[in-house]
Symmetry: C2
Subunit: 339 residues, 2 copies
DNA sequence: TTGAAAGCGCTAACAA
DNA sequence: TTGTTAGCGCTTTCAA
């Protein structure tokens, strides 16, 4: 049997209302009543029924996060870091986090609609924004609070945190060029992802600035997994005139590329340079360690979460658009020079 | 403005009751009324208010998962795989998943209590069971449904899925011994974790069966991260008489150990053998690739989730205790022989 | 086949 | 300072 307000009311001889107000620390309840109620509530082990509270208050103290997946899973450490950041910040601020995964398409749309209409969450954190992102239109049309990790193509106005991928990739290319590389390949993300656009743009601008020829046959799209990186890098390495450096657009693909190179007897960091993007914990401990761009994913998760909650609470946002500069972590995989 | 039953009732000229029944496909509603109601509901874009439904039905169609963390985060790919498995299975079965992280202690206890009393979730998935696991007593005392990934020390009776770690570690030691190793070290998990017990036991039994001397100075406890693995392996390698093989109790520590060895100029798989446990996606792509024990984490997540939901629904469990045999994945890091 | 009415546990406007 | 009453949106007896 679960303890409810009624039970406390009975035990104290007060009315349900008074008990409710005492528990919520209203100041029109006498101090004695308050402490009496509090004591009894504690004794009885009272916890409010969340659903009743929410039905009444019309908000849920819960934020939603639907992770977009292409395959069935999201084992990318990228997401775990981010998730941890969001979840912990949410908990600090007194919010629950409802998590699910959907692949883009009808199901994803339905999940958002259901959550919005059913008032299941107070707002959404959007991750991995896409060029034409229907999630954004759904949310905006419903006038539903959300904050995103990533920007969107159209000049849509919404709060976001993003890292400056263009800047980051330019940094990488500059680094590789300074090491003497001239044939630099890129392992790009699926083009519908917004960050694919920015990273590719940075890659190309970097080449231009380094006075290098862009060669489209050296730009291959991978699915952001190790396996994808392995496969695409294999193609690059089997080219008649293979690249001397591969800039992967995320760490997982970079690791796949390293394997592909190593399987061909190449020494990564010497015979070929390979770089990543994300700086997942593994990067520091791979062999060779991975030169990559650091994104503070855990903190980013926290920032987006905090933005969202400010939005939900109707508080003014400290900042509406946050663009972070990734930091280049030079490690072994890019080598120190090429002869 | 959100559409509710009342709106549909008005639009169709029916009563709220009838609309509700039509929508829930009761068979005492005429076919025409039903289709009329359905159509209008669709037109208006109706979605039931979750809170009202739950308050009424007294269950939530939500399962809870509180991830225990020692530090602030849970970036272990181990958890992401498991989480994906649980979440996707839950979604298939029509359940939401409420996720949060708490470090063991007062806060964790409070989180469970609040979720139970507030009827916030219908049941819990417990992960990473501990020897004296107070979560289990809380849940059992409240008679609250849960299923665990992992067993517990006391002869407590609850449904679980677990992998046979003892068996797995024996497999590893047997493998290493067959390769000629005699000084085999172990990177063990913190001893309060239940699986630490089983893995260590397997390690020791494996030594005995291989007629090898157990040397307690070769058993070091690490915190399951790469960094922890790196630090503890460093100690082992700097011993006057270092081990020729290191069996880490999870992949992340194994990667750390590999780095430590490589930093000392050792060639992993030749100068020293290193093995892991988990077979996270990275293992196949590290350099050298990691010999480890495969646990189908994604599937395990699904199994535990399904168990829990059967429990919640009061259905008989297909199986109450599931013990899986991990499979040894022999890769490069253990080497093929030692001379 | 349908509708009126009660009630899930809580909060809040209003009265006393 | 306290209690009465209504109502959040839904489901479910019970009666018509």
């Amino acid at each position: 049997m679960v303890v409810k307000l009624k039970d406390i009311a009975q035990a104290t001889g007060k009315s349900i209302t008074t008990v409710s107000r005492a528990l919520n620390d209203y100041d029109d309840v006498s101090a004695e009543t308050k402490s009496l109620v509090m004591r009894v509530a504690k004794e009885l082990g009272y916890t409010p029924n969340t659903w009743a509270q929410r039905l009444q208050k019309q908000h849920t103290e819960t934020i939603g996060l639907i992770i977009p997946t292409f395959g069935p899973r999201f084992s990318d450490p990228f997401f775990s870091e981010l998730l941890a950041g969001i979840g912990n910040r949410a908990a600090q601020l007194g919010y629950d986090m409802l998590v699910s995964t959907r692949s883009p398409g009808e199901e994803e749309r339905a999940a958002y609609q259901a959550a919005i209409n059913g008032r299941r969450v107070d707002g959404f954190v959007l991750v991995r924004t896409r060029r034409q992102d229907e999630r954004i239109s759904i949310l905006q049309e419903a006038d539903f609070p959300f904050a995103a990790f990533g920007r969107a193509e159209e000049r849509l106005d919404f709060p976001f945190v993003d890292e400056d991928s263009t800047y980051g990739m330019k940094l990488v290319v500059e680094h590789l060029a300074s090491l003497g590389h001239e044939r630099i390949a890129c392992l790009a993300p699926p083009s519908e992802l917004m960050f694919a656009h920015y990273r590719l743009q940075g890659f190309k601008e970097g080449l231009t600035e380094a006075d290098l020829q862009a060669d489209n046959s050296l730009i291959l799209i991978g699915d952001l997994t190790q396996r994808g990186g392995y496969e695409q890098a294999s193609k690059l390495l089997d080219l008649p005139s293979p690249p001397t450096a591969i800039a992967a657009c995320n760490d997982l693909m970079a690791f796949g590329a390293m394997s592909a190179a190593q399987d061909r007897g190449l020494m990564v960091g010497k015979d070929i340079a390979i770089t990543g993007f994300d700086d997942i914990p593994m990067s520091e401990f791979s062999h060779p360690s991975l030169t990559t761009l650091h994104q503070p994913l855990y903190q980013i998760g926290g920032m987006v979460c905090e933005m969202l909650i400010q939005l939900i609470r109707g508080e003014p946002l400290d900042e509406k658009y946050i663009l972070l500069k990734p930091e280049l972590m030079v490690r072994q995989s890019s080598g120190l020079s090429i002869d």
